[in-house]
Symmetry: C3
Subunit: 326 residues, 3 copies
């Protein structure tokens, strides 16, 4: 990692720094683990007690924090400042370099400028890839898919035919996009496959965690909206529409044709049944089962999921009941 | 996609068509999105209101639907008719062509007629593959496994040694079949691995969704019965027996040695503990935890799972209790 | 499989064998399926009724089992004896042989003695691999990672850069280690990625099941302690610390920064929210949601999880309430 002057870091994030700014920083660590050449941060006040003892050379703190320390850089939002600083200087993931001679690119595929392709990666017929895209080893991008600019696709991810991926997307290892949705017509005791001929469309600035699967639409599109961030081992069924800037935490499942609005946040291991309408800014607590439509700005919890207040009421009532001598 | 005469489509599914049948169809879409050269369908009456406004050139409808429209093709089961028509004409997934020179086939392996093997696919020692099998890039089929006729195996799926797969199976990307079951003998504070020397046997007409894992038996076989359809990210433990024509929806987990009868339907995110006997035609609601044997023809729900009626009773009682002033 | 004298087997596990020990064993099977050249075992008394009818040539039984049979080998712990015998003689998984010329090894990587590398495996810059390591086809080991001695890594597993893996670890197909943790700073309606620059450290004797994902730390380390066994499709978030000799059953999820003590056992589909402290020897029942710290030696259950006795009390109270006429 490079050594960066504290003054430069402070200026980059519009911070107020009371020190002389002459020191330099060559990495980032937590308050308890940072050394004098590292930057640290306080974004959660519950760790404020670690602030006095930290050995960090500089610390991002909230603008209005009480006290003084020559190492503090006061900013509006320390966590966001950290994201910007780390992205700018301290995130040195090694990427594939150039086009490996061991990759296979179909003659009809079109690669933009500065595309890197790892060993044994495959780019299928008529695939179109934008500029500054890094595709790691063993990735399959099947026929007719398109990838925007500035994307990273990690080893062994698989993108089925016809998938459309926007700009600045990050796709982790083990992700499968565009696999067949789960659709069968049962007739005379057998389940007959409905061919899944739709696609998956992923908008800009989406990140998809390791092992997540996103099924292609039966007909039409499965859509992941702009800025949505999906954690590991999440399942998105066919024809699901996920809105913009949603957060889907690990092991969430969304059954076919359900639609989520924008800024929906779903905690880990929750599930949605199919064909639901989930409003904007809905929040779903961990391990909930959402079986009905949910209006805008509602927080739900439980299995089946109900509004937070109703869940709390039931929980309290049951707790009380269990304590009663009967 | 090809253009197919409406008359030919109607005859293929034994439909009644009141129009002149002279038009042709070159694709399939939902009622709201279809254009005049596309086929659509009404299988769920809740979408009947979309029927009047559809621009589809032909529509599969139930035999006894009220009303008339020259574009309607009346059939017994529109959804099944759709499956047949799409499979026949409108499911053009690109498959690997021929045996890639970049695939590796062990000299002792036997490939049937019309097998295609994608780049970097691996066929191990003594593997036997039937006719008309398409194996995509990056797939590993390890030593001694057998694959029947007319199977499709998507990129980067892994089939461990000794697996037996029937005819007409579809295996999606990221699937792992034959990995070690979770078996340890704890002794003096350490967990000692029980080598898993059984196999996985998958019968005919099974489809396995992306990212699903099926463990080999400790001894003997893990079995997936004929016609069973498994969704994404499902976990099947060692020595599990899944019966014929079961439906296992996404993120279901079945612990070791549990046996499911035929036509068992398990909704998403449900789990079974080990060593259970689950009867025929059992239905399990979403996110249930089945901890005991379940007799034939029973619907269960909840965590721990109980019959639907009992679940409903408890749910209603709790709801009522929570509303009471106490 | 080899034929091994019963006497040799009995001596190897310190067993008492009343027969002449002259027969030989060439495999292992369950009591009901074993033939006269196979070894079987009784570790769970509930299968004792199968003992009389078994055709096994030798049977591992508990030291104090009533009755006599010339085929019995009496041992302290039949299941542990079975593990040792199978590991010694009857676990013939075919491994890759030598370094495939189709693998790619960075010039700066260091391989120990007796390393095998399957086709299309990739060993990145500065990777260090110990002795007797078998790496199957399609595995990616990215830059700067280290692997100890006697490890096995199955096809298409992915190990991101900087990961540290101990000795005698087993990593199954589809596993992803070191993918980015789920960390975003939300600012002006957008989720900004916090670069994840920590690593994953896996201690000795860890096994990781198929499709499991373990995220790298944001800063510092995600740690899996010595002797811990992880089943399939488990999710471990960034900066999680799992103690020594834990058991994490299939589809468990652990959110960021949560710490588990030693000998924690978590049944299938359970989840932990983030930043928790879970004590030593804690047991979590299946499908539980652990939302609070749990002290040592506590058994918890439910969603949200509470101690077993409290769960049982609530469950009984609700059951009773549902039966009451109101």
């Amino acid at each position: 990692m490079p050594a960066v002057a504290i003054r430069e870091i402070s200026e980059f994030v519009g911070g107020q720094h009371s020190g002389d700014g002459k020191g330099s920083i060559s990495g980032v660590a937590s308050l308890t683990q940072a050394t004098s050449d590292q930057l640290s941060f306080l974004s959660n006040r519950k760790y404020a007690s670690d602030l006095a003892a930290t050995k960090a050379g500089a610390v991002l703190v909230p603008k209005n924090l009480e006290g003084t320390d020559d190492r503090w850089i006061r900013v509006d939002d320390p966590y966001f400042a950290l994201a910007r600083i780390m992205t700018r200087w301290f995130s040195n993931r090694p990427l594939p370099r150039g086009i490996s001679p061991k990759a296979v690119v179909a003659p009809s595929a079109k690669l933009g400028a500065n595309v890197s392709l790892g060993h044994f990666a495959i780019v299928g017929d008529d695939v179109v890839i934008g500029n500054n895209v890094a595709i790691f080893q063993g990735v399959s991008i099947e026929a007719g898919s398109t990838i925007g600019n500035d994307c990273i696709i990690y080893p062994n991810a698989v993108i089925y035919d016809g998938t459309r991926i926007g700009n600045r997307c990050i796709i982790h290892s083990g992700v499968v996009i565009g696999s067949d949705g789960y659709g069968f017509a049962t007739h005379d005791g057998k389940h007959h496959k409905i061919p899944q001929i739709g696609i998956v469309r992923i908008e800009d600035d989406v990140e998809i965690g390791a092992g997540t699967t996103i099924d292609r639409a039966a007909l039409g599109e499965t859509v992941i909206g702009e800025g949505t961030k999906i954690d590991n081992l999440v399942q998105i069924g066919h024809n699901v529409k996920v809105g913009k800037h949603c957060l889907l935490v690990s092991q969430v499942g969304i059954a076919g044709s359900t639609e989520l609005g924008d800024y929906v946040a779903v905690a880990g291991q929750s599930g949605f049944s199919g064909h639901l309408k989930i409003g904007n800014r809905v929040q779903v607590a961990a391990k909930s089962a959402v079986l009905d439509d949910v209006p805008d700005d509602t927080k739900v919890m439980g299995s089946p999921a109900v509004p937070f207040t109703e869940f709390a009421r039931r929980h309290a009532a049951l707790k009380k009941l269990a304590r009663r001598k009967t």
